[in-house]
Subunit: 410 residues, 2 copies
């Protein structure tokens, strides 16, 4: 008899974005004339940079000609892309990486979801709370942290609350944990850690032989000095951290799909007898058995992000979204809401007003202003009482949405 992985039954809700989709679809069906502005899902709206389109188009043409056609590519990705990644994303920060330390993939979601596979099922897992649901759900599915109690908290998960009270800076756990997911600039709160704050986590991981799974998908949005763009800016991080990067949010690849993961050669995990094993080897093993690389034309397209023209275009896009963020911040502040993030990140984290809970405020914004946000509680128990808005919209829609909010009364 085919028995299912019952850990799947421990996941209480639908994937949060699917749930939002359903509510919005129902509202739109009931109110066909409502001009709904989506500021929920962190999906970009600006087209791919022209530098990318040009190279992408050329690479598609190559696939149509026998002399230049490409079949299966290298397991880790093409060197023409990896070379650019290292040269542009890391060397300017003073970080050296070898090509074997980069794994090109079709998305940071896939990588952050799959990475837990290479660790023991009894590993203790810590996440900042609120948190991107993929880290939690992938570990629930693996049987590492379920079931969820009546308080909406998973039994074996170590929550690191990030709230108004602690300025959204997670406290170092008092107990040893094995795997720590950190996402900075943070999704969903839009807040950041300074180098000094992140260094404490590297120190903790080194003391406890823990591994930090550092999601830097929003790195391009950092505006302020002293905010680390890569965890490898922190001394000693190569021995304790995996870093996830993506072309989704800087270059608009959410629908094109390309990302990469950095696994330094020094990074070790341990078997039950305490012998060290290369995490890079394990991840390579995982990828060679269960993945077949990213489309050749897409890797070419991603490499064009690093051309001078590509770099200029992605800067323009980031500036565009950050201008939206600034408009949202100002409007919501003027309206009297307490808000966080939106300075080094495209996300604005709003404290819900008038004692509303997250889904009440979600429904309020949907019904009264036809704006779709993301309920904070969908990101974890400490997200209750908050709601996330994204700056990933057109300037026009952003202004329109803020105008609608300014006319609401609470």
């Amino acid at each position: 008899m085919a028995v299912i992985n019952e850990n799947y039954l421990l996941i209480k809700s639908n994937y949060i974005f699917a749930e939002i989709d359903q509510r919005v679809e129902k509202y739109q069906n009931d109110n066909p004339d409502a001009d709904i502005i989506r500021m929920g899902i962190g999906d970009v709206t600006r087209p791919l940079p022209q530098a990318v389109i040009e190279k992408f188009t050329e690479a598609v043409k190559e696939m149509g000609e026998a002399e230049t056609f490409q079949g299966y590519g290298p397991y880790r990705g093409y060197d023409f892309l990896i070379d650019e990644i290292i040269k542009n994303d890391f060397n300017p920060l003073g970080i050296e990486l070898s090509n074997e330390e980069i794994f090109v993939s079709d998305g940071a979601k896939c990588d952050t979801g799959n990475i837990q596979e290479i660790f023991d099922v009894t590993s203790t897992v810590a996440v900042t709370d609120p948190v991107y649901p993929v880290y939690v759900e992938s570990n629930v599915m693996a049987g590492r942290i379920g079931p969820m109690g009546d308080d909406g908290r998973y039994d074996k998960l170590v929550y690191l609350p990030c709230t108004e009270e602690n300025g959204f800076v997670p406290e170092i756990p008092k107990i040893p944990v094995d795997l720590i997911y950190l996402c900075y600039p943070n999704n969903p709160t839009g807040t950041v850690l300074t180098k000094e704050q992140l260094a404490k986590w590297v120190e903790y991981a080194r003391e406890n032989n823990s591994i930090i799974l550092f999601d830097a998908a929003y790195e391009a949005y950092i505006q302020e000095d002293d905010i680390p763009r890569s965890i490898y800016e922190i001394e000693g991080a190569r021995e304790v951290a995996i870093e996830f990067r993506s072309f989704s949010k800087n270059a608009g690849f959410t629908g094109t799909r390309c990302a990469y993961t950095v696994v330094p050669q020094e990074l070790m995990g341990y078997d039950s007898e305490g012998n060290p094993h290369s995490i890079n080897n394990l991840w390579y093993r995982r990828q060679t058995s269960k993945f077949n690389g990213v489309s050749y034309p897409i890797q070419v397209a991603a490499s064009a992000v690093y051309s001078p023209k590509g770099q200029e275009e992605i800067r323009e896009s980031v500036d565009y979204y950050m201008k939206n963020a600034s408009i949202i911040r100002k409007s919501l502040k003027d309206f009297g809401l307490s808000i966080y993030g939106g300075v080094n990140s495209p996300y604005i984290w709003i404290k819900t007003p008038e004692g509303m809970d997250s889904w009440q405020f979600f429904d309020f914004l949907l019904n009264e202003a036809h704006i779709v946000g993301t309920p904070g509680v969908g990101f974890g128990p400490s997200g209750e009482g908050y709601l996330r808005l994204t700056a990933f919209n057109t300037l026009e829609n952003t202004k329109k949405a803020m105008d609608r909010i300014s006319k609401l009364s609470l």
Copy 2:
């Protein structure tokens, strides 16, 4: 302390194709003038169809314009592709499917590797032997079947030998197994099952509440009548089978990446109390948490495979490769070798001559004829004494390779 998933240490060898790459690279370095012909990896050589290139190019253009730009797509894939899949790949066989039963992905390797996640870790697994290594390795990694004994067999894996002796038709197990991987037309042996033979497996699965994981990646190569193109041609299969399809081998998408998986709504797995659960729901749950869809331009490109021009072009490609297969079959027969497959499949399965084992014959062909095959033993214990050649090469190289073999002496 970050403890690794020790099941990874149970995998004895490198992924077979990586091992071949290493041997070939070494040989080429030692013999820089050798004109090596690769007939090992099942990678296509012909460019993408022009019908595909045209639509692919248009879709890239759309990604560069704000009005037509696409961000995150639907979790299961775009309906414009799924509609074509159902209309062209299934309806003509008398099979009805709903759009919710199709999951578009970036590769059948990923899907066949990941599907085991949704089943219990104690499930018994049966595979034909020899077999595509991904099925086995993904289950070893999950802790379902290791460790491997000294005889080169995994303790808890149920092997279904397919050899000269049984005409490459796997025998129905005498014991109940939970999950059965069947790949037809078969990789690596190139052999097929008739409808009657496959129907016995469906009957077995229905009797035992087993699930068949049916890999039909080579469906396009079927030439003979009475060979099922889909397992759903067999009555009752919707309740017991998942089918994997790919654009890699029919339309040359190995380096472009697109595939799909069919999970019928009737298909149930069971929890430990015997309650049924929809496998479609579980797989949807898995995909929404750990996957983010296939690139929009690639889904457009895949949909063009179904245009009249696309269909004509892929038929030409299949014919081209099958002509190679026929040349290989004739040459090897004339040379005096016992061969199988190559009639409804691009793979030719050769019995090694003169008592050589698989790797000896691999090295013999590499050293003496500069031809790269795939050692049968890399696909499982019953593959020992065989070697696989593929027809995925140019006609010119295929002829050259066969000419070299005809001049060898054993």
